[in-house]
């Protein structure tokens, strides 16, 4: 055994960690990404050299195919579609971990060995289960985000009982696998794989669109975990460490996102938020708040142009309308007139962590203008106009002062503390969670109805004409 390979692996690991470290600031983040790339080149070169050419054509085929798909997809994907993209990547990693387990198992089973090493059998079965759950769950998350299937929670009676039974079945089959040292009947193994895939599908089905930031983060951490455990299976420190880094990252994001909604992870996963029995029809019937003031783009343009500080509050609606470039154009017009423009970004605005930031970065908004929850809330009391663009629940003051509200306690952007609030909204339909937003009825709030992009463009034109 030569010493070069482990030393090179160590160098790769150091580069990965340094790469993640340099993501601590937008100014150094690209350098960080390059370091991580260099680490990957080193690590993969070592692995490829170690194969000694065995199965080279299959490996080459996989790398060329995957590389081509990956790069083309990365170049083509729209920034508004990043949540779907990340969901697919999570699924790909989980799927690969599961398939490694399948291949290793079959090679062992056909080889007719006595029994698997306990470390291998435990890690094989655990990484396969988590990988398969992550794979199937990510596919469902992708389908929901891509709107191939409804973003609404899908529920049926006894759902949690079914999931619990499947989970128990998985545990039982997994224990059988380990105790038998991998020599169980092969139907047991395939049933296990199938059950893990089914669980992945079923656990994401009841989760609604607005909860996707949590789910994507969670699936990210699952995939990291699957990769780390696969590292035990093939005895690779490299996989263990990389998997652990990703698992830690996904876990931090999951906790952040849950906290930003003031809900426990269990509540996100099991409560099918926003599908409340009959709550939606009721909200629709009541028609939501009636007492709202509607204004024209010209009125808003005057208000904006003569303000000294304007805060934009983007939400998923901005992403749907692809309005980020229009928003930036409006900001440019205002800045030309000496208005200070800032952006308030709620952690769960959009469909994944940091979604709004990427969209605004795409539109060339300097990142210094993007404020997080606390900084933004310090600014609202001195803000002349808060312009809410396609955000709803994250601005709902009921979270602060209506204990009976389902979102009570959720940290929100205090837009109502600004002197004037303008809400760009397509219609008076309530938000994802089906909760009325008392913000709309406040005396300092006015509504500008219409498509977010069209409204912002109209504002830009009106400001220009002043």
């Amino acid at each position: 055994m030569n010493v070069a390979a482990p030393l090179l692996d160590l160098a790769a690991i150091a580069l990965f960690i340094l790469g993640l470290h340099f993501l601590n600031s937008p100014a150094t983040a690209r350098f960080g990404n390059r370091l991580a790339m260099a680490g990957m080149v080193i690590a993969l070169t070592v692995v490829l050299v170690q194969t000694g050419g065995v199965g080279w054509w299959a490996i080459a085929a996989g790398i060329l195919l995957g590389g081509a798909i990956g790069i083309v997809a990365a170049m083509r994907v729209k920034m508004t579609a990043m949540p779907q993209m990340v969901a697919l990547y999570n699924g790909a990693g989980g799927g690969a971990a599961a398939m490694i387990g399948v291949v290793e198992y079959i090679v062992f089973a056909r080889g007719g060995g006595a029994s698997l090493d306990p470390i291998v059998s435990v890690s094989l079965v655990v990484s396969m289960i988590i990988g398969a759950v992550s794979f199937a769950g990510s596919i469902i998350a992708f389908l929901k985000l891509q709107e191939v299937m409804t973003g609404r929670p899908i529920t049926y009676p006894g759902q949690q009982v079914v999931n619990a039974l499947i989970a128990l079945g998985i545990i039982a089959l997994g224990v059988w696998f380990v105790i038998s040292g991998g020599t169980l009947a092969s139907w047991g193994f395939y049933l296990l794989l199938l059950a893990a895939l089914a669980l992945g599908v079923l656990f994401v089905l009841p989760i609604g669109g607005a909860d996707m930031p949590v789910v994507i983060s969670l699936l990210n951490s699952f995939t990291g975990l699957a990769v780390a455990i696969a590292g035990f299976e093939i005895d690779s420190e490299l996989l263990i460490i990389c998997g652990a880094l990703v698992g830690a990252s996904g876990t931090i994001l999951t906790v952040d996102m849950s906290r930003a909604m003031n809900r426990s992870l269990a509540n996100v996963l099991f409560s099918a938020f926003g599908s409340g029995s009959g709550a939606e029809p009721a909200a629709a019937a009541s028609g939501g708040p009636q007492n709202v003031r509607s204004v024209s783009a010209d009125d808003v343009a005057v208000m904006l142009a003569y303000a000294s500080k304007v805060m934009f509050v983007p939400g998923y609606g901005m992403a749907v309308a692809q309005a980020q470039h229009s928003v930036k154009a409006l900001a440019d017009q205002l800045e030309k007139r000496g208005v200070k423009v800032l952006y308030a970004i709620h952690p769960v605005a959009g469909r994944m962590p940091g979604h709004m930031n990427v969209l605004l970065a795409e539109a060339n908004v300097p990142y210094e203008q993007l404020l997080d929850l606390d900084d933004a809330n310090n600014e609202f009391p001195t803000t002349d106009v808060a312009l809410v663009i396609g955000a709803n629940d994250v601005t709902n003051p009921a979270a602060r002062n209506v204990p009976s509200s389902p979102i009570y306690g959720m940290p929100i952007l205090d837009v109502d503390k600004a002197a004037n609030v303008i809400v760009l909204k397509r219609s008076m339909r309530s938000g994802f969670a089906g909760i009325d937003n008392p913000l709309y009825e406040l005396p300092n709030t006015a509504m500008l109805f219409g498509d977010a992009k069209a409204s912002v463009d109209a504002l830009t034109a009106a400001v220009k004409a002043l």
């Binding site: 790469g19 993640l20 470290h21 983040a29 690209r30 960080g32 990404n33 991580a36 990957m40 690590a43 692995v47 194969t51 065995v54 199965g55 299959a58 490996i59 085929a61 996989g62 790398i63 195919l65 995957g66 590389g67 990956g70 790069i71 990365a74 990043m82 993209m85 990340v86 990547y89 999570n90 790909a92 690969a96 398939m99 490694i100 090679v107 090493d117 995939t223 780390a228 590292g231 093939i234 690779s236 420190e237 263990i240 990389c242 652990a244 880094l245 990703v246 990252s249 996904g250 931090i252 994001l253 994944m352 962590p353 940091g354 930031n357 990427v358 970065a361 060339n364 300097p366 210094e368």
Partner: protein
């Protein structure tokens, strides 16, 4: 027979790596959370190394069953998608983040 001291070494590495991960990642600002996710997607693409090892053990075992070979190639493909796609999309996103002066 399993080598317990080796297992302990691997577990030690796992636990330490988790701590390092928490330390490093908790300093990433919210504005970079999407690039962070895609970068970690690329890093867990290291699973492709596992897929390559599995492919080698498949070919080494002399098993040339077509279905199994396809599974092995698919595993390598998925891992490679993560590596190449993850880094490329992260790079693409990060080059959009700019300061006020540099942006115009």
């Amino acid at each position: 027979m399993t080598d317990v001291s080796h297992l302990i070494t691997l577990l030690t590495i796992l636990v330490l790596a988790i701590f390092v991960g928490f330390e490093v990642i908790s300093k990433v600002p919210t504005t970079l959370h999407t690039p962070l996710m895609s970068a970690t997607n690329a890093i867990h693409g290291i699973v492709v190394a596992g897929a390559i090892v599995a492919t080698v053990s498949l070919f080494g075992s002399g098993n040339s069953e077509i279905a199994l070979t396809i599974v092995a190639i698919a595993a390598v493909t998925l891992g490679a998608i993560n590596v190449f796609g993850g880094f490329a999309v992260t790079e693409r996103m990060l080059q959009m983040f700019r300061r006020k002066e540099g942006g115009k």
